[in-house]
Symmetry: C2
């Protein structure tokens, strides 16, 4: 596989993200509410429309912001100054229109056809507990209808990296879109990145994720510590890292306040976390870490610098509500001596 992260003449986008296009409904909640509703704290659960209506009914006043894991990452890349594009499906409803507004207003190229019928735009009901931890309940809605027809070959071919979220394994048609995009990317000498998304998601699709990594369909793997442990069914972080080094060309593992570990074939680098003042809401931490890392990587920065940029973007996002940056991450990077 050629290394395409150094800019090539026909690369129009640094990163193309493909994922479930979701709008976040974010509310404060106490632990008792999670307990009453039988919600496992810290993870992402899939819910149906009836459960969505129920949870919306019991949740407190909510802030609505655009979300979606890969979409958050792609907006982060754009905010850092990268050339970014996105594929993901909403319905042509009020909430879907807002998703479209936000991603375009963030400087991301986005042209996926909106569903005119079928379920509503996907919504994620996010409960933020006083410790800043977020617990997500996702109704996939219209995002489930993403299919191979939505994968624009010329777009994929023009992106240095195609970044795919593991959550795409949940809607059946999206899985085919995922594979199609990865094949197109490789056929054009581009790289493919995969995020494992969530430890429960890894639990659902462990064999398939391992196959994607071992077969080389995914060149770069993003995971947090619990996802990585889930992937290799171990409670020992170090042995999971050893296994990842065997399987993946490049692994990017985040460990919350412990920082990150970049697992290359030749070398593993541990990078400390960026300092924060107050943890407000962890929503988007992993997504924004990926944004920073990918931006550094596509600009040819070394792994440590890329990881520091990831850590800086993650530190910004967890000090505010929601998973979309509130400031220019490019300026933030410059202020922190991390221009790439």
């Amino acid at each position: 596989m050629p290394q395409t992260q150094t800019s090539s003449r026909d690369v129009r986008y640094d990163v193309l993200g493909i994922g479930n296009a979701i709008v976040d409904m974010i509310a404060s909640a106490d632990e008792a509410l999670l307990h009453r509703e039988g919600i496992a704290k810290g993870g992402m659960m899939l819910i149906d429309e009836a459960r969505a209506a129920h949870l919306y009914g019991v949740m407190g006043p909510a802030t609505i912001t655009s979300g979606g894991s890969a979409a958050n990452t792609i907006v982060g890349v754009a905010s850092l100054g990268g050339r970014a594009a996105y594929i993901g499906k909403v319905k042509a409803d009020e909430v879907g229109a807002h998703f479209v507004h936000d991603i375009r207003a963030s400087g991301v190229s986005y042209a996926t056809a909106q569903a005119s019928d079928g379920p509503i735009t996907a919504a994620c009901y996010i409960f933020v507990t006083p410790d800043g931890e977020r617990t997500m309940n996702t109704f996939l809605g219209a995002s489930q209808n993403l299919s191979t027809a939505d994968i624009d070959e010329a777009l994929v071919a023009s992106a240095a990296i195609t970044y795919l979220e593991g959550y795409l394994w949940d809607p059946p048609a999206a899985k085919d879109a995922f594979r199609t995009a990865a094949k197109i990317a490789h056929a054009h000498g581009r790289e493919v990145a995969l995020t494992l998304s969530d430890s429960f998601c890894v639990d659902r699709y462990r064999a398939e994720f391992l196959d994607l990594i071992r077969s080389g369909m995914a060149d770069i793997v993003f995971a947090n510590e619990s996802e990585l442990k889930s992937l290799y069914e171990t409670s020992d972080f170090d042995s999971a890292v050893v296994a990842l080094r065997e399987d993946a060309k490049l692994g990017v593992v985040t460990r919350g306040e412990l920082g990150s570990v970049i697992v290359g074939r030749d070398r593993t680098v541990a990078v400390p976390a960026a300092r924060i003042d107050t943890l407000v809401d962890t929503t988007g931490a992993g997504d924004l870490f990926a944004a920073g890392f990918l931006h550094g990587y596509t600009r040819g920065a070394d792994h440590e610098t890329s990881a520091r940029l990831g850590g800086l973007a993650a530190a910004h996002i967890i000090q505010k509500i929601g998973a979309r940056p509130g400031v220019s991450l490019k300026e933030l990077a410059e202020q922190n001596g991390l221009s790439v």
Copy 2:
């Protein structure tokens, strides 16, 4: 007029708010954008549907939160532990449903009939500049259809204070609803509070506002410094305060970081502002000051304590995005020794 702020047996609500039911679309913006769009910084401009679509198109990624001046105040009263109710009209659309969800989830009693046709739920496009100042552009939409038919006599009669926003003077039918509510309140021995809302709003309706105050239709008047100066067409704050003392039974004047001045017939008290760490977004500052003051007042606290409670609530709201409290203001008040 009997003083009803001391609890009476048949008072079911401490404060009933009546206002334009609006959802806020809040985005960061630089001064250049305001200049390009010809928007006067710091105020509230009324816009039509076409202008709303244009501004939404040029605005950055936006957070959607429930808003509306009196609604923000009423949610603040509920968050402080007061018994609160609200009257205001949305359309039965997705955004309207969210307004309804939020105000009820905030513990406010709310039962105004939703419009099934006509314009969409009112939206306020708020540009927050790097200095934290907010500039508002409001499409009144469905809120314009609030009419006397929406004024539930039993509800008004059961509230110690009916709190009305000056913005209600903009939609013609709402003005009648305002007068009807004030008459019902007084007929049942309750008090009526009026907020002047915005200096441009005062400019539009100066004579009518003065008449409301001088005729005694409004017992308590809330204003910020620029609204008060606009009301009396003077640039001299002290002479405006003297004029207010002549006209109003009780005046509550906010001066931003200079604190507030409570203008009673017998005594004027100046109260310093609460300390803040970082100014994020001034949206809702006046609304939440009114919430704190009204809560103290209805609980029988003295003017200074009520003003301190107002300042505390305002300080909370300007350190976050949006005009709805992110924490329990009751707990915040307790932590600051301001339980009433």
